[in-house]
C-alpha cells in the first residue's frame, strides 16, 4: 500500500478510538519520554492528535507522524492513567501497522522479522552459531551482573553493556517436556519467551525447578516462536500473524490449566494484544487465541495466586532486594504484589522498595536501539533509584527489563545483581 487514500481510510477506522481522547493532557504526568523532552508530540495526547490530524488531512506528512508515533516505549503508563479510558496502546500498535503498511518496512527489519524471526528453527541455529563466536568480540566487564562490552560492535550498539547469548539456550537443555500434574493437581504450558530461552536460560531453569518442587505438571512443546511483539511494534503485521499462528499450532496439542511465562512482555502480548490484533484471523483461530489468552498468566502470579504460597518471615540479616515493576506487568496486567511475594518466599531475601519502582526502565524493546540516548537517560533514572535503595539485588519479572537494567548498572560500575524473582525463590529449593 502506498496509496494516500487507503492510508486515510485505515486511519479513519481508528477514529472511534481517537475521538475518545478529550485532550486533557493528564498523560504528561506519567509519560517517561515526555518527562525527558517536554515535547507535546512525545506524549499520548500529541500522538493521538497527530493521528487524528493525519486522518482528517490537517496534517500532510505521514512520515513525520510515523516518526513521532515510534518515539514511544509502549509502556502503557498513559493508558493506565487516562481519565477517559483511551486505549492508547491499542491505538499506537494499530497505527504503527497502518503507517508501516503505507511507508514500508526498513530493509534491516525486513531481514530480521521476515527472514529470521518467523523461522524459529533457523533463528535458533543462527543464534547458536553466534553464541560460539561472540566472545571474540566482547570483553567481560562486571562479574556480579555478568555483562560485557564490545569495542568491535560499538558502531552498532554504542556504549551498551551487553548480556551475551547464553552458551546453551534453554531449548538445547530442555527441548520439550510433558509431565503430569503432581501434588498441586495443576499443569501448565510453559512459554519461556525468546530472552529467557537465549539470554537468560537460568530464568527458565528456575521456573522449571519451582514448578517441579510444587508438583506442577509442565507442557513445553518444541518449535515455540517469538510472541510477535517486536514485529508488531515495528508495524510488521504479516510477520506478527505468522508468529502467533506458529505458537497456536504448538500449544494446541496440550492439556493444561494455565499458560505461564516468566516474561512480562510475552504475558501481556499473549493475554491482551493477541485478542486485540486478531483481524485477518479465521473464527477458529480467534477462538483459539481467546481461549489461550484467558489461560495466560505471569509465572509469579501463577505461583502466588494458584499455588497459594505465603512467604515465611525473612531470616536475620537477609539480603535486601529491590523490585522493579515492569510496565507490562503492573500497568498492563495489574500484577505487582506477586513478584514481591515470590522474592520473599526465600527467607534469605527481604524486599526493600525503591522510589519510582513502577517507573519504566526505558527499554521499550527495539526502542533501546532506535532511540538509544533517550532510552539510556530514562534508564539512568531507574539506575539511580535502584542504587539509592541500598539493595544488593534488583529483581524484576521481565527479561527485557533485566537486560536494560543490567546495562545501566554495569555502565555505572555498580555491583548490584539483576535477577528474576523466580531465580531468587529457586535458590532456596
Amino acid at each position: 500500500m502506498s496509496d494516500m487514500r487507503e492510508l486515510l481510510k485505515l486511519l479513519g477506522e481508528l477514529d472511534d478510538q481517537l475521538v475518545s481522547c478529550m485532550r486533557c493532557g493528564m498523560c504528561q504526568a506519567v509519560c517517561p519520554i515526555y518527562g525527558q523532552t517536554g515535547r507535546e508530540a512525545d506524549v499520548a495526547r500529541g500522538k493521538i492528535a497527530l493521528l487524528e490530524g493525519l486522518a482528517h488531512e490537517m496534517v500532510k506528512d505521514p512520515e513525520g507522524v510515523q516518526d513521532k508515533v515510534t518515539r514511544c516505549l509502549l509502556c502503557g503508563s498513559c493508558a493506565a492513567n487516562c481519565p477517559s479510558g483511551v486505549k492508547a496502546l491499542d491505538i499506537f500498535l494499530k497505527a504503527r501497522t497502518i503507517l508501516t503498511g503505507y511507508m514500508g518496512l526498513p530493509t534491516v527489519k525486513k531481514l530480521i522479522f521476515r527472514g529470521m524471526l518467523t523461522r524459529p528453527g533457523l533463528f535458533n541455529n543462527l543464534l547458536s552459531f553466534a553464541s560460539k563466536f561472540q566472545g571474540l568480540f566482547t570483553t567481560p566487564v562486571n562479574d556480579i551482573i555478568g555483562s560485557s562490552c564490545s569495542k568491535f560492535l560499538e558502531p552498532v550498539l554504542g556504549e551498551r553493556h551487553l548480556m551475551l547469548l547464553a552458551k546453551t539456550p534453554l531449548h538445547k537443555d530442555v527441548p520439550s517436556m510433558n509431565t503430569q500434574a503432581g501434588k498441586s493437581g495443576l499443569k501448565v504450558a510453559f512459554f519461556p519467551g525468546c530472552m529467557a530461552d537465549k539470554i537468560f536460560p537460568r530464568v527458565g531453569h528456575a521456573v522449571l525447578k519451582v514448578l517441579k518442587h510444587h508438583g506442577v505438571g509442565v507442557f513445553l512443546p518444541e518449535g515455540q516462536a517469538c510472541c510477535g511483539i517486536p514485529a508488531l511494534s515495528s508495524g510488521d503485521k504479516d510477520s506478527y500473524l505468522k508468529l502467533v499462528r506458529a505458537n497456536l499450532a504448538v500449544f494446541k496439542n496440550g492439556q493444561y490449566d494455565a499458560l505461564v511465562t516468566p516474561c512480562a512482555t510475552c504475558t501481556s502480548t499473549i493475554k491482551k494484544i493477541w485478542p486485540m490484533m486478531a483481524e485477518g484471523m479465521s473464527p477458529a483461530e480467534r477462538e483459539a487465541i481467546n481461549a489461550l489468552a484467558a489461560k495466560t498468566m505471569d509465572v509469579n502470579a501463577f505461583v502466588v495466586d494458584k499455588l497459594g504460597l505465603t512467604p515465611p518471615a525473612p531470616a536475620q540479616g537477609a539480603t535486601q532486594v529491590t523490585v522493579h515493576d515492569p510496565c507490562h506487568l503492573k500497568k498492563s496486567l495489574g500484577v505487582s504484589a506477586q513478584p514481591r511475594a515470590v522474592v520473599a518466599m526465600n527467607p534469605k531475601y527481604v524486599v526493600k522498595e525503591m522510589a519510582g519502582c513502577d517507573a519504566c526502565c526505558g527499554c521499550g524493546g527495539s526502542f533501546t536501539l532506535t532511540h538509544a540516548d533517550m532510552s539510556a537517560r530514562i534508564g539512568q533514572q531507574k539506575r539511580d533509584n535502584i542504587k539509592s535503595s541500598g539493595a544488593q539485588v534488583v529483581a524484576t519479572g521481565c527479561p527485557a527489563c533485566m537486560m536494560q537494567i543490567s546495562d545501566m548498572l554495569s555502565r555505572n560500575g555498580d555491583r548490584i545483581a539483576v535477577k528474576h524473582p523466580m531465580e531468587l525463590y529457586a535458590e532456596s529449593l
Binding site: 493532557g25 493528564m26 504526568a29 517536554g38 515535547r39 508530540a41 492528535a49 490530524g53 506528512d61
Partner: protein, 459 residues
C-alpha cells in the same frame, strides 16, 4: 516562517529548542477546549528566563503573534494560537527559586508544575491551597494566567488570592516588576493583579511570588445523601448561613452518581438524587464542632443518610468518588464539554432547575457536579462532536446556560477562563464600554497586538 527569522530564534534558544516540522507544530495547535486546532508557524522552548525575554522582543520586532503555553490544559482555547505565529513553551522554566518558611512565600518560574510545587511546599510543613483539576500537569504560570480555582475555593480562595507578585516581560522584552515578598505592599499600580487572568494578553511571566499558609491541623469529611436535588441545594445555603465555611462543599447529581458508581464501584447510593461531599478543616476542636453542626443541618433539611468518614481511609474514599466524576462522565461518550458558568451560591437551586430544563429542551445528556459551595457547578454535556446536528444543539444549550447564569447574577466562567470559547459572550456579562476599555488598555501595552491576540476581548 522565513529561514533568517528561524535562525534568529535558534540563536536565542538553541537549535534543539526550535520546532518547525509540521508534526511538531501541529501538536501545539490545540488545548483541552473542544475547538478547531490552529497550527503555529514555529514553536520555541526557552531554557532560561533571559532567553524568554529575548524571544518576546524578537516576536514584537517582527510583529509575530506570540502564544505562551505551559501544559496546554486550558479549557477555553486560550492556548490555541488562533492567529498562527509563535508558540512559546514555558515548561523548561520549571525551577522553584525559593520557598521561604519564615516569611511564608515562594518564588517560582512559570513552568513549575502545580502538584509538584504543592508537594514541595507540603514537605516544608506549609500549604499552597489552590488545587485545580489539572494540577498533576498544569503549570503555575498557566494557573495565574487563568486564575485557576479548584475544590478548596470556598474557604481558601483561588489562585489570585495567593499571588503576591509577578515579574513579567513587556512586549519589548523588558522586565516589569510588581508586588513584593511582604504581606503589605502599596508600591505602584497593582500590575500583578492585572496579570492574573490576563491569559497571556498583557505580558509574559518571568517569575511569580506566591503566598503560603500553615496547613490545617485536622479535617473531617462526610457524604450526605438526598432524595431531592432541591434539598441538597438548600442544605448548601443553610451551611453557609450558619456561618460555617467548609474547605470543600461538592455536589453530584443523580446522573453523575450513577456514572461514577458504574465506573469506580465506590459504593455510592445510585438511587440518590443528589450527594453533597463536605469537608471541614482547621483546629481539631473547631473541626469536631463544625462537623456536628453540619451533620445536624443536613439532617434537618432532609438528608436521608449521612456518612461521616471515620479515618483517613474513609476520607480518601469520599474524595475518590468526587475525583472520579469527570473521568467517569468522560467515558460515556466521545466528546465531553465541561462548562463552568457560576452563580451566587444562593442561586444554585434555580441553576439546577434551569439545567434540567435545558437538557430536556435540547435532548442532551448533562451530568452536573461541582463546587456547590462557591456556586461553581460543572454541567458536563456528553456528546459526539462528529454528530453535526447534535453539536448544533450543544452550542445552543451552552448559549442558554450562559443566559441563565447571567440572569441569576452569575458569571460566564468561574475558573476555566474566557479564551476564544467565551469571548463572544463577554459583552453580555459586562458592557460595551468594558470591552472598549480593555481593548484600549491592550492597545497601549501591546501596540502591535502580538500577545495572544484575539483572546478574551476579541479584537
Amino acid at each position: 516562517m522565513n529561514d533568517a527569522l528561524k535562525k534568529d530564534f535558534e540563536a536565542l534558544v538553541g537549535k534543539e529548542n526550535v520546532m518547525e516540522s509540521e508534526a511538531d507544530r501541529f501538536s501545539y495547535a490545540y488545548d483541552a477546549a473542544v475547538l478547531e486546532p490552529v497550527t503555529p508557524a514555529l514553536v520555541v522552548r526557552p531554557e532560561t528566563r533571559e532567553a524568554l525575554g529575548k524571544v518576546v522582543k524578537l516576536c514584537n520586532d517582527n510583529a509575530l503573534p506570540l502564544t505562551v503555553r505551559g501544559s496546554g490544559t486550558n479549557l477555553s482555547g486560550g492556548t490555541i494560537p488562533s492567529k498562527g505565529g509563535v508558540v512559546v513553551l514555558t515548561n523548561a522554566l520549571n525551577k522553584i527559586l525559593e520557598i521561604n518558611e519564615a516569611d511564608l512565600y515562594a518564588i517560582v518560574e512559570p513552568g513549575v508544575i502545580t502538584a509538584k510545587f504543592a508537594a514541595e511546599v507540603a514537605a516544608r510543613g506549609l500549604f499552597y491551597p489552590p488545587d485545580p483539576g489539572s494540577q498533576a500537569v498544569s503549570t503555575m504560570g498557566g494557573n495565574v494566567a487563568e486564575n485557576a480555582g479548584g475544590l478548596r475555593g470556598l474557604k481558601y480562595g483561588v489562585t489570585k488570592d495567593y499571588v503576591m507578585g509577578v515579574d513579567f516581560f513587556d512586549v519589548d522584552g523588558e522586565i516589569v516588576k510588581s508586588g513584593s515578598r511582604t504581606v503589605k505592599c502599596v508600591t505602584g499600580l497593582n500590575l500583578h493583579g492585572l496579570m492574573v487572568a490576563s491569559e497571556g494578553t498583557l505580558g509574559v511571566f518571568e517569575k511569580i511570588t506566591l503566598k503560603l499558609v500553615p496547613p490545617p491541623l485536622a479535617a473531617k469529611a462526610m457524604m450526605a445523601v438526598f432524595d431531592d436535588v432541591n434539598k441538597a441545594c438548600e442544605t448548601v445555603a443553610a451551611i453557609i448561613a450558619a456561618k460555617i465555611v467548609p474547605a470543600t462543599l461538592e455536589f453530584m447529581d443523580n446522573f453523575t452518581i450513577r456514572t461514577v458508581e458504574d465506573f469506580a464501584h465506590a459504593g455510592l447510593p445510585v438511587e440518590a438524587q443528589a450527594l453533597l461531599l463536605i469537608e471541614v478543616d482547621g483546629h481539631p476542636a473547631q473541626v469536631a464542632e463544625e462537623a456536628e453542626k453540619v451533620e445536624a443541618i443536613c439532617k434537618k433539611l432532609g438528608a436521608q443518610r449521612i456518612q461521616v468518614a471515620k479515618d483517613a481511609n474513609e476520607r480518601n474514599k469520599v474524595w475518590e468518588a468526587r475525583r472520579a466524576a469527570l473521568s467517569a462522565l468522560a467515558r460515556v461518550s466521545p466528546t465531553t464539554v465541561l462548562e463552568d458558568a457560576t452563580v451566587p451560591r444562593s442561586k444554585i437551586p434555580a441553576m439546577m432547575v434551569a439545567l434540567e430544563g435545558i437538557a430536556k429542551k435540547y435532548k442532551l445528556t448533562i451530568g452536573t457536579f461541582g463546587h456547590a459551595g462557591d456556586g461553581n457547578l460543572h454541567p458536563t454535556i456528553l456528546t459526539d462532536r462528529r454528530n453535526k446536528e447534535e453539536w448544533k444543539r450543544v452550542e445552543e444549550a451552552i448559549d442558554d446556560i450562559f443566559d441563565v447564569a447571567l440572569g441569576l447574577g452569575g458569571t460566564l466562567s468561574g475558573e476555566h477562563g474566557i479564551g476564544i470559547a467565551k469571548s463572544k459572550y463577554m459583552e453580555k456579562e459586562t458592557s460595551r464600554a468594558t470591552i472598549l476599555y480593555s481593548r484600549r488598555l491592550k492597545k497601549a501595552l501591546d501596540p502591535k497586538g502580538i500577545l495572544n491576540p484575539g483572546k478574551i476581548i476579541g479584537e
